[in-house]
Symmetry: C2
Subunit: 102 residues, 2 copies
């Protein structure tokens, strides 16, 4: 993963509501959850949630699919693993030499 993508993903996760959304979607697994469900679960105005979903989708961390009247969003686990890999690789390297165990 390139640094540019990593920054984008970090920025997407660096916000209370968006991190909460992502956690909900991780919890939901591949089945995902509808935008409206997320909005009420997180007590967030639909327009606001839509903004955050767009941000997460734009970073590649989630994906939406139309399902009838609903739009179901699901976490992109591969992308998240990519981010964890980037952080472990680039932001944790020296620590191995010091036994931090990461």
């Amino acid at each position: 993963m390139e640094t540019k993508s990593a920054v984008k993903m970090l920025a997407a996760l660096a916000q209370d509501t968006r991190l909460a959304v992502f956690r909900q979607l991780v919890e939901a697994g591949p089945a995902g959850r509808a935008a409206g469900e997320l909005a009420s679960a997180l007590d967030c105005a639909p327009a606001t949630l839509s903004f955050h979903l767009k941000e997460l989708a734009n970073a590649g961390l989630i994906e939406g699919r139309q399902d009838g009247r609903f739009v179901i969003y699901a976490a992109n686990f591969a992308a998240m693993n990519g981010l964890l890999g980037y952080l472990t690789e680039n932001c944790c390297r020296a620590s191995n030499a010091d036994g931090c165990g990461c």
Copy 2:
């Protein structure tokens, strides 16, 4: 780690210059690097860099120590591991059931 700290750390890393600073400090290891060195290495105005260092320190990701006229900053590897742990724990759980391997 609490979500609040995680968001703070993510926000600290979600910026080009700050991520670059942190990577430099990971590279430097426990010995760390002086603020001025970082500023010239990253081609960043001292005042701007100071702002970013403060942000990273405030998130707990780095620590500064006075060394004569210099201030040496070093990465806080434990904090970074904490963040990785949080992300793995809270943002990657369901993926295990699907064999993503994280």
